[in-house]
Symmetry: C2
Subunit: 232 residues, 2 copies
DNA sequence: AATAGCTTTTTGGCATACCAAATGAAAGTC
DNA sequence: GACTTTCATTTGGTATGCCAAAAAGCTATT
Protein backbone atom coordinates (compact mmCIF):
# COMPACT_ATOMS: atom_id res chain seq x y z
CA UNK A 1 0.00 0.00 0.00
CA UNK A 2 2.57 2.54 1.06
CA UNK A 3 5.81 2.23 -0.91
CA UNK A 4 7.32 4.17 1.97
CA UNK A 5 10.73 5.49 1.20
CA UNK A 6 12.57 4.63 4.39
CA UNK A 7 12.99 1.19 5.91
CA UNK A 8 11.86 2.08 9.43
CA UNK A 9 8.66 3.49 7.96
CA UNK A 10 8.03 0.24 6.13
CA UNK A 11 8.63 -1.75 9.29
CA UNK A 12 6.33 0.57 11.19
CA UNK A 13 3.62 0.05 8.60
CA UNK A 14 4.05 -3.70 8.85
CA UNK A 15 3.83 -3.69 12.64
CA UNK A 16 0.92 -1.28 12.52
CA UNK A 17 -1.03 -3.64 10.31
CA UNK A 18 -0.25 -6.53 12.63
CA UNK A 19 -1.47 -4.54 15.57
CA UNK A 20 -4.61 -3.57 13.70
CA UNK A 21 -5.35 -7.14 12.64
CA UNK A 22 -4.87 -8.34 16.16
CA UNK A 23 -1.80 -10.45 15.39
CA UNK A 24 -0.15 -8.40 18.09
CA UNK A 25 -2.67 -8.10 20.87
CA UNK A 26 -2.78 -5.12 23.23
CA UNK A 27 -0.33 -5.71 26.02
CA UNK A 28 1.98 -7.90 23.93
CA UNK A 29 5.67 -7.06 24.21
CA UNK A 30 7.62 -6.08 21.09
CA UNK A 31 11.01 -7.70 21.51
CA UNK A 32 13.42 -6.08 19.14
CA UNK A 33 15.68 -9.08 18.67
CA UNK A 34 12.90 -11.52 17.80
CA UNK A 35 11.00 -9.21 15.49
CA UNK A 36 14.16 -8.02 13.78
CA UNK A 37 15.35 -11.50 12.80
CA UNK A 38 11.82 -12.55 11.97
CA UNK A 39 11.49 -9.70 9.49
CA UNK A 40 15.01 -10.07 8.16
CA UNK A 41 16.16 -6.65 9.24
CA UNK A 42 18.52 -5.48 11.91
CA UNK A 43 17.62 -4.14 15.31
CA UNK A 44 18.44 -0.53 14.53
CA UNK A 45 15.70 0.24 11.98
CA UNK A 46 13.23 -1.87 13.92
CA UNK A 47 14.06 0.15 16.96
CA UNK A 48 13.26 3.32 15.04
CA UNK A 49 10.04 1.81 13.80
CA UNK A 50 9.00 1.14 17.37
CA UNK A 51 9.72 4.79 18.20
CA UNK A 52 7.49 5.86 15.34
CA UNK A 53 4.67 3.70 16.65
CA UNK A 54 5.32 5.02 20.14
CA UNK A 55 4.97 8.57 18.92
CA UNK A 56 1.71 7.55 17.30
CA UNK A 57 0.63 6.12 20.63
CA UNK A 58 0.23 2.56 19.36
CA UNK A 59 2.94 1.18 21.61
CA UNK A 60 4.10 2.22 25.04
CA UNK A 61 7.81 2.62 25.80
CA UNK A 62 9.10 1.80 29.24
CA UNK A 63 12.65 2.49 30.36
CA UNK A 64 14.78 -0.63 30.07
CA UNK A 65 11.75 -2.74 29.29
CA UNK A 66 10.13 -4.29 26.26
CA UNK A 67 7.78 -1.89 24.55
CA UNK A 68 4.23 -3.18 24.67
CA UNK A 69 1.26 -2.72 22.37
CA UNK A 70 -0.85 0.06 23.82
CA UNK A 71 -4.08 -0.85 25.51
CA UNK A 72 -5.77 2.46 26.25
CA UNK A 73 -8.48 2.63 28.85
CA UNK A 74 -11.86 3.99 27.87
CA UNK A 75 -10.99 7.31 29.44
CA UNK A 76 -7.74 7.56 27.52
CA UNK A 77 -9.48 6.66 24.28
CA UNK A 78 -12.23 9.17 24.95
CA UNK A 79 -9.67 11.88 25.62
CA UNK A 80 -7.88 11.20 22.35
CA UNK A 81 -11.10 11.13 20.38
CA UNK A 82 -12.06 14.43 21.96
CA UNK A 83 -8.92 15.96 20.48
CA UNK A 84 -9.56 14.20 17.20
CA UNK A 85 -12.99 15.77 17.18
CA UNK A 86 -11.58 19.26 17.51
CA UNK A 87 -9.01 18.59 14.80
CA UNK A 88 -11.50 17.14 12.34
CA UNK A 89 -13.99 19.91 12.96
CA UNK A 90 -11.34 22.50 12.26
CA UNK A 91 -10.31 20.52 9.17
CA UNK A 92 -13.82 20.57 7.82
CA UNK A 93 -14.29 24.25 8.44
CA UNK A 94 -10.98 25.16 6.85
CA UNK A 95 -11.64 22.82 3.95
CA UNK A 96 -14.79 24.77 3.13
CA UNK A 97 -12.63 27.86 2.73
CA UNK A 98 -9.45 26.45 1.25
CA UNK A 99 -10.17 23.26 -0.66
CA UNK A 100 -10.08 23.27 -4.43
CA UNK A 101 -13.07 21.97 -6.35
CA UNK A 102 -10.94 19.04 -7.45
CA UNK A 103 -10.16 18.13 -3.84
CA UNK A 104 -13.83 18.19 -2.91
CA UNK A 105 -14.62 16.06 -5.95
CA UNK A 106 -11.96 13.60 -4.78
CA UNK A 107 -13.53 13.51 -1.34
CA UNK A 108 -16.87 12.68 -2.94
CA UNK A 109 -15.22 9.93 -4.96
CA UNK A 110 -13.78 8.37 -1.81
CA UNK A 111 -17.15 8.70 -0.13
CA UNK A 112 -18.86 6.81 -2.94
CA UNK A 113 -16.21 4.13 -3.00
CA UNK A 114 -16.67 3.69 0.72
CA UNK A 115 -20.43 3.51 0.36
CA UNK A 116 -20.34 0.78 -2.25
CA UNK A 117 -17.76 -1.24 -0.32
CA UNK A 118 -19.80 -0.79 2.81
CA UNK A 119 -22.74 -2.69 1.34
CA UNK A 120 -20.86 -5.91 0.72
CA UNK A 121 -17.67 -5.94 2.76
CA UNK A 122 -17.07 -8.97 4.97
CA UNK A 123 -14.08 -10.76 6.46
CA UNK A 124 -10.73 -9.54 5.25
CA UNK A 125 -12.35 -6.96 2.95
CA UNK A 126 -13.31 -5.14 6.13
CA UNK A 127 -9.76 -3.90 6.34
CA UNK A 128 -10.06 -2.40 2.87
CA UNK A 129 -13.36 -0.81 3.84
CA UNK A 130 -11.77 0.63 6.90
CA UNK A 131 -8.81 2.02 5.02
CA UNK A 132 -11.14 3.81 2.63
CA UNK A 133 -12.94 5.21 5.66
CA UNK A 134 -9.67 6.54 6.99
CA UNK A 135 -8.78 7.92 3.57
CA UNK A 136 -12.02 9.89 3.60
CA UNK A 137 -11.15 11.66 6.81
CA UNK A 138 -7.54 12.10 5.82
CA UNK A 139 -8.56 13.70 2.53
CA UNK A 140 -10.65 16.26 4.38
CA UNK A 141 -7.76 17.05 6.71
CA UNK A 142 -5.47 17.57 3.73
CA UNK A 143 -8.08 19.70 1.99
CA UNK A 144 -7.81 22.15 4.88
CA UNK A 145 -4.54 23.22 3.25
CA UNK A 146 -3.00 23.29 6.71
CA UNK A 147 -0.08 20.85 6.77
CA UNK A 148 0.38 21.01 10.54
CA UNK A 149 -3.28 20.18 11.01
CA UNK A 150 -3.22 17.33 8.50
CA UNK A 151 -0.14 15.89 10.14
CA UNK A 152 -1.47 16.05 13.67
CA UNK A 153 -4.78 14.68 12.52
CA UNK A 154 -3.02 11.74 10.88
CA UNK A 155 -1.15 11.09 14.11
CA UNK A 156 -4.33 10.92 16.15
CA UNK A 157 -6.02 8.82 13.53
CA UNK A 158 -3.18 6.33 13.74
CA UNK A 159 -3.40 6.37 17.51
CA UNK A 160 -7.08 5.53 17.39
CA UNK A 161 -6.61 3.13 14.52
CA UNK A 162 -7.69 0.05 16.37
CA UNK A 163 -10.57 1.70 18.17
CA UNK A 164 -11.93 3.19 14.98
CA UNK A 165 -11.47 -0.12 13.25
CA UNK A 166 -13.47 -1.99 15.81
CA UNK A 167 -16.12 0.67 15.61
CA UNK A 168 -16.18 0.97 11.83
CA UNK A 169 -16.69 -2.70 11.04
CA UNK A 170 -19.83 -2.99 13.09
CA UNK A 171 -22.76 -3.67 10.80
CA UNK A 172 -25.14 -1.60 12.88
CA UNK A 173 -23.08 1.56 12.41
CA UNK A 174 -22.76 1.44 8.65
CA UNK A 175 -26.00 3.13 7.70
CA UNK A 176 -25.40 5.98 10.09
CA UNK A 177 -21.84 6.41 8.86
CA UNK A 178 -23.07 6.51 5.27
CA UNK A 179 -25.53 9.29 5.97
CA UNK A 180 -23.11 11.31 8.04
CA UNK A 181 -20.42 11.03 5.40
CA UNK A 182 -22.95 12.07 2.79
CA UNK A 183 -23.91 15.13 4.78
CA UNK A 184 -20.29 16.07 5.24
CA UNK A 185 -19.71 15.85 1.49
CA UNK A 186 -22.83 17.90 0.77
CA UNK A 187 -21.71 20.50 3.27
CA UNK A 188 -18.28 20.70 1.66
CA UNK A 189 -19.78 21.05 -1.79
CA UNK A 190 -21.96 23.86 -0.46
CA UNK A 191 -18.85 25.24 1.28
CA UNK A 192 -20.88 25.65 4.45
CA UNK A 193 -18.44 25.54 7.41
CA UNK A 194 -21.18 25.54 10.04
CA UNK A 195 -22.86 22.54 8.53
CA UNK A 196 -19.67 20.61 7.95
CA UNK A 197 -18.47 21.36 11.46
CA UNK A 198 -21.74 20.24 12.99
CA UNK A 199 -21.84 17.05 10.92
CA UNK A 200 -18.29 16.10 11.76
CA UNK A 201 -18.96 16.77 15.40
CA UNK A 202 -21.97 14.49 15.33
CA UNK A 203 -19.96 11.87 13.46
CA UNK A 204 -17.24 11.78 16.06
CA UNK A 205 -19.69 11.95 18.94
CA UNK A 206 -21.25 8.78 17.55
CA UNK A 207 -17.80 7.25 17.51
CA UNK A 208 -17.40 8.05 21.19
CA UNK A 209 -20.73 6.38 21.95
CA UNK A 210 -19.62 3.35 19.99
CA UNK A 211 -16.42 3.20 21.96
CA UNK A 212 -18.27 3.24 25.25
CA UNK A 213 -20.33 0.26 24.11
CA UNK A 214 -17.30 -1.57 22.75
CA UNK A 215 -15.36 -1.15 25.96
CA UNK A 216 -18.35 -2.29 28.00
CA UNK A 217 -18.61 -5.41 25.83
CA UNK A 218 -14.90 -6.04 26.07
CA UNK A 219 -14.85 -5.68 29.82
CA UNK A 220 -17.77 -8.10 30.07
CA UNK A 221 -15.81 -10.67 28.06
CA UNK A 222 -12.65 -10.01 30.04
CA UNK A 223 -13.36 -12.75 32.59
CA UNK A 224 -13.68 -15.36 29.87
CA UNK A 225 -10.37 -14.29 28.42
CA UNK A 226 -8.65 -14.59 31.75
CA UNK A 227 -10.10 -18.07 32.15
CA UNK A 228 -8.66 -19.05 28.81
CA UNK A 229 -5.34 -17.70 29.88
CA UNK A 230 -5.50 -19.77 33.01
CA UNK A 231 -6.16 -22.91 30.98
CA UNK A 232 -3.31 -22.32 28.59
CA UNK B 1 24.96 11.52 35.19
CA UNK B 2 21.52 9.99 34.80
CA UNK B 3 19.41 12.05 37.12
CA UNK B 4 16.37 12.82 35.00
CA UNK B 5 15.71 10.45 32.15
CA UNK B 6 17.07 8.50 29.21
CA UNK B 7 20.14 9.60 27.29
CA UNK B 8 18.36 10.51 24.03
CA UNK B 9 15.93 12.62 26.02
CA UNK B 10 18.80 14.46 27.69
CA UNK B 11 20.45 15.09 24.35
CA UNK B 12 17.14 16.30 22.94
CA UNK B 13 16.77 18.71 25.85
CA UNK B 14 20.29 20.00 25.29
CA UNK B 15 19.73 20.54 21.57
CA UNK B 16 16.33 22.06 22.20
CA UNK B 17 17.81 24.65 24.50
CA UNK B 18 20.48 25.46 21.96
CA UNK B 19 17.89 25.91 19.25
CA UNK B 20 15.63 28.08 21.36
CA UNK B 21 18.47 30.24 22.62
CA UNK B 22 19.59 30.78 19.06
CA UNK B 23 22.93 28.95 19.36
CA UNK B 24 21.70 26.79 16.51
CA UNK B 25 20.13 29.19 14.06
CA UNK B 26 17.16 28.28 11.89
CA UNK B 27 18.40 26.53 8.77
CA UNK B 28 21.54 25.16 10.42
CA UNK B 29 22.22 21.49 9.69
CA UNK B 30 22.48 19.02 12.57
CA UNK B 31 25.26 16.67 11.56
CA UNK B 32 25.05 13.61 13.68
CA UNK B 33 28.74 12.79 13.59
CA UNK B 34 29.90 16.26 14.64
CA UNK B 35 27.34 16.76 17.36
CA UNK B 36 27.81 13.25 18.69
CA UNK B 37 31.55 13.61 19.21
CA UNK B 38 31.11 17.14 20.48
CA UNK B 39 28.75 15.96 23.18
CA UNK B 40 30.74 12.85 23.95
CA UNK B 41 28.03 10.42 22.95
CA UNK B 42 27.62 8.06 20.06
CA UNK B 43 25.55 8.60 16.96
CA UNK B 44 22.78 6.23 17.95
CA UNK B 45 21.30 8.16 20.89
CA UNK B 46 21.93 11.47 19.15
CA UNK B 47 20.04 10.14 16.18
CA UNK B 48 17.09 9.32 18.41
CA UNK B 49 17.25 12.75 19.97
CA UNK B 50 16.99 14.32 16.53
CA UNK B 51 13.91 12.22 15.87
CA UNK B 52 12.36 13.51 19.06
CA UNK B 53 12.97 17.09 18.00
CA UNK B 54 11.64 16.30 14.54
CA UNK B 55 8.43 15.00 16.05
CA UNK B 56 8.20 18.26 17.96
CA UNK B 57 8.68 20.14 14.73
CA UNK B 58 11.86 21.92 15.80
CA UNK B 59 14.00 20.23 13.17
CA UNK B 60 13.15 19.05 9.69
CA UNK B 61 14.17 15.59 8.49
CA UNK B 62 14.99 15.11 4.84
CA UNK B 63 15.65 11.69 3.29
CA UNK B 64 19.38 11.03 3.09
CA UNK B 65 20.17 14.58 4.11
CA UNK B 66 21.28 16.41 7.22
CA UNK B 67 18.38 17.40 9.42
CA UNK B 68 18.11 21.17 9.69
CA UNK B 69 16.75 23.48 12.36
CA UNK B 70 13.24 24.41 11.33
CA UNK B 71 12.69 27.85 9.90
CA UNK B 72 8.94 28.07 9.35
CA UNK B 73 7.61 30.48 6.80
CA UNK B 74 4.83 32.82 7.81
CA UNK B 75 2.29 30.50 6.23
CA UNK B 76 3.65 27.50 8.12
CA UNK B 77 3.70 29.44 11.37
CA UNK B 78 0.18 30.65 10.78
CA UNK B 79 -0.94 27.09 10.09
CA UNK B 80 0.57 25.84 13.35
CA UNK B 81 -0.92 28.67 15.34
CA UNK B 82 -4.29 27.89 13.81
CA UNK B 83 -4.03 24.40 15.25
CA UNK B 84 -2.77 25.81 18.52
CA UNK B 85 -5.84 28.01 18.60
CA UNK B 86 -8.18 25.05 18.25
CA UNK B 87 -6.28 23.14 20.95
CA UNK B 88 -6.24 26.03 23.41
CA UNK B 89 -9.89 26.81 22.82
CA UNK B 90 -10.80 23.21 23.51
CA UNK B 91 -8.55 23.27 26.58
CA UNK B 92 -10.35 26.30 27.96
CA UNK B 93 -13.78 24.85 27.36
CA UNK B 94 -12.90 21.53 28.93
CA UNK B 95 -11.17 23.26 31.84
CA UNK B 96 -14.43 25.02 32.66
CA UNK B 97 -16.01 21.61 33.08
CA UNK B 98 -13.20 19.55 34.51
CA UNK B 99 -10.79 21.76 36.41
CA UNK B 100 -10.73 21.67 40.18
CA UNK B 101 -11.09 24.91 42.11
CA UNK B 102 -7.49 24.54 43.18
CA UNK B 103 -6.34 24.34 39.59
CA UNK B 104 -8.23 27.48 38.66
CA UNK B 105 -6.77 29.22 41.67
CA UNK B 106 -3.32 28.17 40.50
CA UNK B 107 -4.03 29.58 37.06
CA UNK B 108 -4.99 32.89 38.67
CA UNK B 109 -1.80 32.85 40.68
CA UNK B 110 0.25 32.40 37.51
CA UNK B 111 -1.72 35.15 35.84
CA UNK B 112 -0.95 37.58 38.65
CA UNK B 113 2.69 36.66 38.69
CA UNK B 114 2.81 37.27 34.96
CA UNK B 115 1.07 40.62 35.31
CA UNK B 116 3.47 41.93 37.92
CA UNK B 117 6.51 40.73 35.98
CA UNK B 118 5.08 42.25 32.84
CA UNK B 119 5.21 45.74 34.32
CA UNK B 120 8.95 45.76 34.94
CA UNK B 121 10.59 43.06 32.88
CA UNK B 122 13.47 44.05 30.66
CA UNK B 123 16.52 42.38 29.18
CA UNK B 124 17.19 38.88 30.44
CA UNK B 125 14.13 38.99 32.68
CA UNK B 126 12.09 38.83 29.51
CA UNK B 127 12.84 35.14 29.33
CA UNK B 128 11.37 34.67 32.81
CA UNK B 129 8.34 36.70 31.82
CA UNK B 130 7.90 34.58 28.77
CA UNK B 131 8.22 31.33 30.66
CA UNK B 132 5.49 32.43 33.05
CA UNK B 133 3.37 33.26 30.02
CA UNK B 134 3.87 29.75 28.69
CA UNK B 135 3.14 28.28 32.11
CA UNK B 136 -0.19 30.09 32.09
CA UNK B 137 -1.30 28.44 28.89
CA UNK B 138 0.15 25.09 29.86
CA UNK B 139 -1.72 25.17 33.17
CA UNK B 140 -5.00 25.68 31.33
CA UNK B 141 -4.25 22.80 28.99
CA UNK B 142 -3.55 20.55 31.97
CA UNK B 143 -6.68 21.75 33.72
CA UNK B 144 -8.68 20.27 30.86
CA UNK B 145 -7.95 16.90 32.47
CA UNK B 146 -7.30 15.53 29.01
CA UNK B 147 -3.74 14.18 28.89
CA UNK B 148 -3.70 13.73 25.11
CA UNK B 149 -4.78 17.31 24.69
CA UNK B 150 -2.25 18.65 27.17
CA UNK B 151 0.53 16.68 25.50
CA UNK B 152 -0.32 17.82 21.99
CA UNK B 153 -0.72 21.37 23.16
CA UNK B 154 2.70 21.26 24.75
CA UNK B 155 4.16 19.96 21.50
CA UNK B 156 2.73 22.84 19.49
CA UNK B 157 3.78 25.31 22.11
CA UNK B 158 7.35 24.05 21.86
CA UNK B 159 7.15 24.26 18.09
CA UNK B 160 6.05 27.88 18.28
CA UNK B 161 8.34 28.71 21.17
CA UNK B 162 10.52 31.07 19.22
CA UNK B 163 7.64 32.80 17.46
CA UNK B 164 5.69 33.26 20.66
CA UNK B 165 8.77 34.54 22.38
CA UNK B 166 9.38 37.19 19.78
CA UNK B 167 5.76 38.18 20.01
CA UNK B 168 5.47 38.12 23.79
CA UNK B 169 8.37 40.44 24.54
CA UNK B 170 7.00 43.29 22.50
CA UNK B 171 6.11 46.16 24.76
CA UNK B 172 3.13 47.19 22.72
CA UNK B 173 1.41 43.85 23.23
CA UNK B 174 1.66 43.70 27.00
CA UNK B 175 -1.44 45.62 27.97
CA UNK B 176 -3.58 43.66 25.59
CA UNK B 177 -2.16 40.38 26.85
CA UNK B 178 -2.84 41.39 30.43
CA UNK B 179 -6.50 42.12 29.77
CA UNK B 180 -7.02 39.01 27.69
CA UNK B 181 -5.42 36.82 30.34
CA UNK B 182 -7.57 38.48 32.95
CA UNK B 183 -10.72 37.78 30.98
CA UNK B 184 -9.70 34.17 30.53
CA UNK B 185 -9.19 33.77 34.27
CA UNK B 186 -12.51 35.44 35.01
CA UNK B 187 -14.22 33.15 32.51
CA UNK B 188 -12.65 30.10 34.11
CA UNK B 189 -13.69 31.20 37.59
CA UNK B 190 -17.23 31.68 36.28
CA UNK B 191 -16.85 28.30 34.53
CA UNK B 192 -18.25 29.86 31.38
CA UNK B 193 -16.95 27.82 28.41
CA UNK B 194 -18.35 30.20 25.79
CA UNK B 195 -16.57 33.16 27.28
CA UNK B 196 -13.29 31.36 27.84
CA UNK B 197 -13.37 29.95 24.34
CA UNK B 198 -14.05 33.34 22.81
CA UNK B 199 -11.32 35.03 24.85
CA UNK B 200 -8.73 32.43 24.00
CA UNK B 201 -9.67 32.67 20.36
CA UNK B 202 -9.19 36.41 20.44
CA UNK B 203 -5.91 36.00 22.29
CA UNK B 204 -4.48 33.67 19.68
CA UNK B 205 -5.86 35.71 16.83
CA UNK B 206 -3.88 38.64 18.19
CA UNK B 207 -0.82 36.40 18.21
CA UNK B 208 -1.34 35.65 14.53
CA UNK B 209 -1.54 39.36 13.77
CA UNK B 210 1.66 39.88 15.68
CA UNK B 211 3.37 37.16 13.71
CA UNK B 212 2.39 38.75 10.43
CA UNK B 213 4.01 41.98 11.54
CA UNK B 214 7.10 40.23 12.89
CA UNK B 215 7.65 38.32 9.68
CA UNK B 216 7.20 41.46 7.64
CA UNK B 217 9.86 43.16 9.78
CA UNK B 218 12.18 40.18 9.53
CA UNK B 219 11.83 39.91 5.77
CA UNK B 220 12.61 43.62 5.50
CA UNK B 221 15.87 43.02 7.38
CA UNK B 222 16.60 39.87 5.40
CA UNK B 223 18.67 41.67 2.79
CA UNK B 224 21.06 42.93 5.40
CA UNK B 225 21.44 39.44 6.79
CA UNK B 226 22.22 38.02 3.38
CA UNK B 227 24.81 40.75 2.86
CA UNK B 228 26.47 39.71 6.09
CA UNK B 229 26.43 36.11 4.94
CA UNK B 230 28.08 37.14 1.71
CA UNK B 231 30.87 38.87 3.62
CA UNK B 232 31.56 35.87 5.79
C1' DA C 1 8.00 -27.32 51.95
C1' DA C 2 8.57 -22.44 51.48
C1' DT C 3 11.27 -18.55 50.91
C1' DA C 4 15.34 -15.86 50.37
C1' DG C 5 19.46 -15.17 47.90
C1' DC C 6 22.28 -16.05 44.04
C1' DT C 7 23.19 -17.25 39.31
C1' DT C 8 21.92 -17.66 34.59
C1' DT C 9 19.61 -15.91 30.74
C1' DT C 10 17.06 -12.71 28.38
C1' DT C 11 16.60 -8.05 26.57
C1' DG C 12 17.25 -3.27 25.73
C1' DG C 13 20.90 0.58 25.43
C1' DC C 14 25.03 2.34 23.43
C1' DA C 15 29.09 2.29 20.49
C1' DT C 16 31.16 1.38 16.26
C1' DA C 17 32.22 -0.48 11.77
C1' DC C 18 30.63 -0.82 7.16
C1' DC C 19 27.78 0.63 3.12
C1' DA C 20 25.37 3.52 -0.18
C1' DA C 21 23.81 7.78 -1.76
C1' DA C 22 24.50 12.65 -2.36
C1' DT C 23 27.34 16.67 -2.78
C1' DG C 24 31.13 19.45 -4.13
C1' DA C 25 35.32 20.02 -6.60
C1' DA C 26 38.44 19.20 -10.20
C1' DA C 27 39.63 17.90 -14.73
C1' DG C 28 38.69 17.04 -19.39
C1' DT C 29 36.05 18.08 -23.52
C1' DC C 30 33.43 20.86 -26.71
C1' DG D 1 36.09 29.78 -21.31
C1' DA D 2 31.93 27.31 -19.97
C1' DC D 3 29.76 23.08 -19.30
C1' DT D 4 29.67 18.34 -18.25
C1' DT D 5 31.30 14.28 -16.26
C1' DT D 6 33.59 11.84 -12.92
C1' DC D 7 35.76 10.91 -8.61
C1' DA D 8 36.62 11.74 -3.82
C1' DT D 9 34.71 13.10 0.45
C1' DT D 10 31.07 13.85 3.40
C1' DT D 11 27.01 12.11 5.68
C1' DG D 12 23.06 9.40 6.76
C1' DG D 13 21.47 4.41 6.93
C1' DT D 14 22.15 -0.29 8.55
C1' DA D 15 24.24 -4.21 10.86
C1' DT D 16 26.43 -6.03 14.74
C1' DG D 17 29.01 -6.52 19.01
C1' DC D 18 29.45 -5.53 23.76
C1' DC D 19 27.53 -4.11 28.23
C1' DA D 20 24.36 -3.41 32.02
C1' DA D 21 20.04 -4.12 34.08
C1' DA D 22 16.07 -6.90 34.83
C1' DA D 23 13.57 -11.34 34.93
C1' DA D 24 13.44 -16.13 35.70
C1' DG D 25 15.05 -20.32 37.55
C1' DC D 26 17.61 -22.88 40.84
C1' DT D 27 19.64 -24.01 45.11
C1' DA D 28 20.39 -23.83 49.78
C1' DT D 29 18.85 -22.90 54.22
C1' DT D 30 15.41 -22.60 57.70
Amino acid sequence: MTPSSTLPEQIATHLRRNILRGVLAPGDPIKERDNALEMGVSRTPLREAVRILAKEGLVILRPARSPVVADPSLEEARASVEVLQALETLSGELACRNASDAEIAEIRRIFEQHSSLSKTAEGDALIDLFEVDMAFHTAIARASHNPALAETHAAFLARMWRQRYLSAVQRRARDRVHHQHENIVLGLEARDPKRVGAEINAHISALINNLVRLYAARDAGQEITSHEKGIE
